[in-house]
């Protein structure tokens, strides 16, 4: 089969989306683990981790950023193309659609993937502007390094309850997106069978809950301990 045939087919596009989706899953997992440094009462922990990523690993960070951007970009681009074709496949809709139940895996999460995805992409721009490209405060760590105080930027942002709520709502949408997306990626890749299906669906939900809970918890913790609640 020609590479172009594979790439333009409905199956190929979904296979690419699944691979990109799983790469993004690995990114957000590492991101969450990194964010846990915000829970440390010593601000140097988080700031040193941030400094390590942006300065100590040299060109790797640039390569990683370009790759992650590409993962988001192409995952979303393929989503738009696939969704557009899917809408075109039923020009006249039904007057009434009832979920068939039984063996169906259709949920509010599975039918709103394009919308939760769109919100996450828009939010991502705001997220980068707030933090990565946000206010740059420099400070000296306890061991005398002059580095950026990203901790101050983050805790400052989350001292506003509305920022916490906005962030957490988007994180819940991310969890909903992943609750369908995680197992669905395996099915799209053809990696599924009668026993694996039960495992991967359960694991997908568990993963979405744990990841969502982690991302939701950190701003709440920051707000309660350092931010506006004090």
């Amino acid at each position: 089969m020609r590479f172009s045939t594979f790439s333009y087919s409905s199956l190929g596009k979904k296979i690419y989306m699944a691979i990109l989706g799983l790469l993004l899953v690995s990114f957000v997992t590492v991101h969450l683990i990194g964010n846990l440094a915000l829970l440390s009462p010593d601000k140097d922990t988080f700031n040193k981790y941030s400094h390590f990523l942006t300065h100590d690993i040299g060109g790797i960070i640039l390569v990683a950023e370009i790759l992650i951007f590409a993962f988001f970009f192409f995952h979303f681009l393929y989503a738009l193309v696939v969704q557009w074709n899917n809408w075109k496949a039923r020009p006249i809709g039904y007057k009434k659609v009832k979920n068939a139940g039984g063996a169906s895996k259709k949920t509010i999460m599975s039918t709103t993937m394009i919308y939760t995805g769109l919100i996450i992409i828009i939010w991502l721009v705001i997220h980068l502007l707030n933090f990565k490209y946000g206010e740059e405060v420099m400070y000296t760590t306890k061991d005398g390094m002059l580095i950026r105080d990203l901790y101050a930027t983050v805790t400052g942002y989350f001292s506003n309850i509305w920022n916490v709520i906005f962030y957490d709502v988007v994180m819940i949408l991310l969890a909903l997106h992943l609750s369908h997306g995680f197992w669905s990626a395996f099915q799209s890749l053809g990696l599924n069978g009668p026993r694996f299906m039960k495992f991967i669906r359960g694991f997908g939900y568990l993963y979405a809950i744990v990841l969502g809970a982690g991302f939701v918890f950190i701003p709440v913790w920051v707000y309660l301990t350092i931010g506006g609640a004090r």
């Binding site: 899917n86 890749l189 053809g190």
Partner: protein, 251 residues
Amino acid sequence: MENNNLTIKLKVWRQENAGAKGKFVDYTIDDVNPDMSFLEMLDELNEELIKKDDLPIEFDNDCREGICGMCGMVINGTAHGPKSGTTTCEVRMRQFKDGETILIEPWRARPFPVIKDLVVDRSAFDRIMVAGGYIDVKTGSAPDAHTVLVPKENADLAMDMAACIGCGACVAACPNASASLFVGAKVSQFALLPQGQPEATKRVEAMVAQMDEEGFGACSNHGECEAVCPKNISILAIARMRREYWKASVH
């Protein structure tokens, strides 16, 4: 004997021909025997319509015992009606309440244009089958049973896949109007058997290309197809088709 007969209100999609603009038309039918099949109820209604010099409601049907794959309509928002694992002809009127309004729509998909009323053109499925849903072998006399060894599990699974009657409910129920379950079943029934191996890569490539060519949507793994499939074919057929596609991609 007590009379349990039902009065049923219908809202049926009527469309004169492929080019015409259709609309829902209301009908009321009294004295419906609860043991009647759904199609018998429509037959009764059509008799009345003919007596009134009206045009009867067109709908596809043939065997009326759930094995031919001709019938199919979306009843109250579900393809083949409320019960899973049945075709439209297997729906019985006792599944409905007295005085209930039943909404009847044709399969809705761009590759399944309405020909008239509830009849849609499913020849897109035939073209997918022509593209690769067969094996090229000289038949002749039957070989000895042990000439080609087939594991029992594979034989059973291939039989499950071959149970597909091509009714199109999977397309009708899919939020994306995807034909993946149909093509998945047809690819799998060959992929599971040794006789299907020589043409496996060519087959999956050609059938998927034809499926896309017809304008069906992509599969988002909603699984509505499996829930409405009269033969309960699992979406694992779709996963198998994707594995076959992977294999073909490196061929």
